[in-house]
């Protein structure tokens, strides 16, 4: 892959990457011609035609119910946002190349070859309009895990060089610099020194040995550094043996979100090797949704063997210590509504943990009408928050969330994902909304007894 297409230069120094006239473009990376792009996409798709994929491809009955679970369809009523439709080229290639009747489809051309025009058209559907929140999986009567198929379709799209620029750029940056937002090891060290000094708190970095390896999201490092202080405060309060490591701190995984399998592996391996190097028994993932999916559920698979340590999302770690009484908290005395990060709750199975923590905080929990593992996504997951041309669509989806939050009448809005928090902050500014997203981790740190 080469640099970003010069027709659509990125303003890399802007607070968020931006592209002029974002809505009018189809992004391409690299110098492949159209035929080569199609071939690369087909090869990428085909690599994911496993037993599970085949079971899902064969089972769809075209009932269309997944549309009603998707925030992008529900808020626009545009049928192209039906989740299973977003996979049409992927399904087409499967039927023609790998299905039980592939030879029939090929011989009689019942499923035509996917064209470059279709792949370009589907770029928006596979990236801009899918936050990979997995709500469609929850409604599918055939039990098809549609979101996992979207992840696979992105692999082929990346190989074809058909990724939205901004998402591609942050993925490149993460691979080259170790962080999608410029939080390089040098920046991390400077930030840690500054935070430790500013808040007079010990933040161990690069210890040779520790029980717990703590990882971060670069959104926290660059935008919410108070989260790092909160984490340090809690771990020090517990008397834990812990460290951050400059050779494996970045938990976000834009290789996974953009569809580059090798970069996904590279990101995960840094943390895995850092944990092994310091002999950690536990690796704590930050308040980041997709980081949980990438390491907790896919980490061992990219490593090639079971991980020799336990992986916990920070909300799980907090819940465990609230439950066993090691963390005691002052009652917050307020009503709280909690936004579940999709990758931690619905796709990750850790729905109960934040509620246990909130219970420890003695709050009046006001659940949104559709909550827990069927919550509505904030609209910023799956890398969508990076894609500018998707902003209008994303804001429409965000309106569902705002209404839900407002309907609870809760005083405090909290979550445990920095990406969701960033999406909420952006939505708050866009809609001039008076609700500010709070971090669960910071609420705990601020109320330690």
């Amino acid at each position: 892959m080469t640099e970003v297409n010069e027709k659509h230069p990125l303003e890399l120094d802007a607070p968020r990457f931006s592209v002029r006239k974002p809505q009018t473009r189809i992004d391409k990376q690299g110098t492949l011609d159209d035929r080569q792009r199609v071939r690369a996409a087909l090869a990428g798709f085909a690599r994911d035609f496993s037993r599970l994929t085949a079971a899902y491809m064969e089972a769809c009955v075209h009932c269309g119910q997944c549309a009603e679970a998707c925030h992008f369809y529900v808020t626009t009523r545009d049928p192209k946002y039906t989740p299973i439709w977003k996979l049409e080229p992927f399904k087409q290639v499967y039927s023609r190349q790998a299905g039980p009747f592939a030879w029939v489809f090929r011989t009689f051309n019942l499923k035509p070859d996917v064209t470059i025009g279709e792949l370009e058209e589907w770029q928006e559907l596979i990236y801009d309009s899918c936050t990979m929140c997995g709500r469609c999986t929850q409604i599918c009567p055939m039990g098809i895990d549609i979101v996992s198929l979207i992840g696979m379709a992105r692999h082929g799209m990346f190989e074809a060089g058909l990724v939205p620029h901004e998402l591609w750029a942050v993925a490149v940056r993460a691979e080259r610099e170790g962080s999608p937002l410029g939080a390089t090891p040098k920046v991390l060290k400077e930030r840690i020194e500054w935070l430790a000094d500013e808040h007079e708190i010990e933040i161990p970095l690069d210890l040779a040995s520790a029980e717990i390896l703590v990882t971060l999201s670069s959104i926290e490092i660059m935008k919410y550094p108070q989260s790092i202080v909160a984490l340090a405060k809690i771990l020090n309060h517990l008397g834990a043996s812990w460290t951050l490591r400059s050779d494996g701190y970045e938990a976000t995984n834009f290789g996974m979100l953009s569809g580059n399998v090798q970069w996904q592996r590279d990101s995960s391996l840094k943390m895995i090797q850092a944990a092994i190097a310091c002999g950690a028994k536990t690796l704590i993932l930050p308040e980041c949704g997709h980081a949980y999916g990438a390491l907790r559920w896919q980490g061992a698979n990219v490593y090639g063997k079971p991980l020799p340590f336990c992986v916990l999302h920070i909300s799980e770690f907090l819940a465990e210590n609230v439950r066993n009484g090691k963390i005691r908290l002052r009652p917050l005395g307020k009503s709280v509504t909690f936004h579940d990060p999709c990758q931690v709750s619905r796709c990750g199975g850790a729905t109960r943990a934040p509620r246990d923590v909130l219970s420890g905080l003695g709050v009046e929990l006001r659940e949104m009408p559709s909550t827990g593992d069927v919550n509505w996504c904030c609209g910023g997951g799956g890398g969508v928050v990076t894609i500018h041309r998707a902003d209008e669509l994303r804001y429409k989806a965000f309106e569902i969330k705002m209404r839900q939050v407002e309907d609870t009448g809760a005083e405090v809005l909290a979550s445990s994902c920095a990406n969701c928090r960033q999406t909420f902050d952006d939505g708050q500014a866009h809609f001039k909304w008076d609700k500010t997203m709070q971090s669960l981790l910071e609420l705990v740190a601020g109320n330690l007894v």
Partner: protein
């Protein structure tokens, strides 16, 4: 009468043979693909229980989704249950199975079956209307969806055409006065049986595979089915 003999003999056995071979081929087409081992530390190892939970629980939509898919969901219940009542509860059908296999079970009262026929008939028409008019369904539908609908509707229609055929209580008529309607009904059923493993009607067995696999994966991650 010759057509009826053909429908009851070679056509029946050929269709069953195609059903079995097609089903085996389609299932093999899935299981011949490589399986990717999941090495993540499971939250639960009760994968089989997870698979069964998903198979059973996904028969009912989650509470949060009930309001958004009311017509599609309730109508699908109607024709699925209606077809089950007709196929397994109607005395002539049971007698047909008994003649072939020796298996017999008590039939449902004829009035209930006739009611189910009427409901299923209307329900299938609603399903077609819905598919033709709903923007989402129109976009995602293929030839398979319309042909499969036709293949299901045809035996129902031809079956209703033989309803006025007299038959002795407890058994289907072996030699009806007019064999043509019954022959056409049998042939339409055989067409369905032949098509079943190749199109979307295969969801009758594929549902166990897709739900089961997701259920096992969800059990590993501790996700509610």
């Amino acid at each position: 009468m010759e057509l009826l003999i053909f429908a009851r003999g070679p056509a029946l056995w050929t269709s069953v043979l195609v059903l079995v071979a097609g089903t085996v081929w389609r299932v093999w087409g899935i299981f011949r693909r490589p399986a990717k081992a999941d090495l993540s530390e499971p939250r639960s190892t009760r994968f089989a229980a997870g698979a069964w939970r998903m198979i059973l629980w996904r028969m009912i939509p989650k509470r949060e989704f009930r309001s958004s898919a009311t017509l599609a969901t309730s109508n699908a219940y109607l024709y699925h249950i209606g077809l089950a009542v007709i196929v397994f509860g109607y005395l002539p059908h049971i007698a047909f199975v008994e003649r072939l296999s020796g298996l017999f079970w008590p039939p449902l009262p004829a009035a209930i079956v006739y009611f189910a026929m009427a409901v299923t008939f209307v329900s299938l028409l609603i399903a077609l209307m819905y598919r033709l008019t709903d923007p989402v369904l129109r976009l995602i539908s293929s030839f398979d969806d319309y042909f499969s609908w036709f293949i299901v509707f045809l035996p129902l229609a031809t079956g209703m055409a033989v309803l006025n055929e007299p038959f002795a209580p407890g058994a289907a008529p072996s030699e009806p006065l007019d064999p043509l309607p019954l022959a056409l009904h049998l042939l339409s059923v055989e067409l369905l049986v032949v098509w079943l493993p190749f199109g979307k009607l295969a969801h009758s067995f594929l549902v166990f595979i897709s739900r089961g696999m997701t259920g096992a994966a969800f059990a590993r991650r501790g996700i509610r089915p």
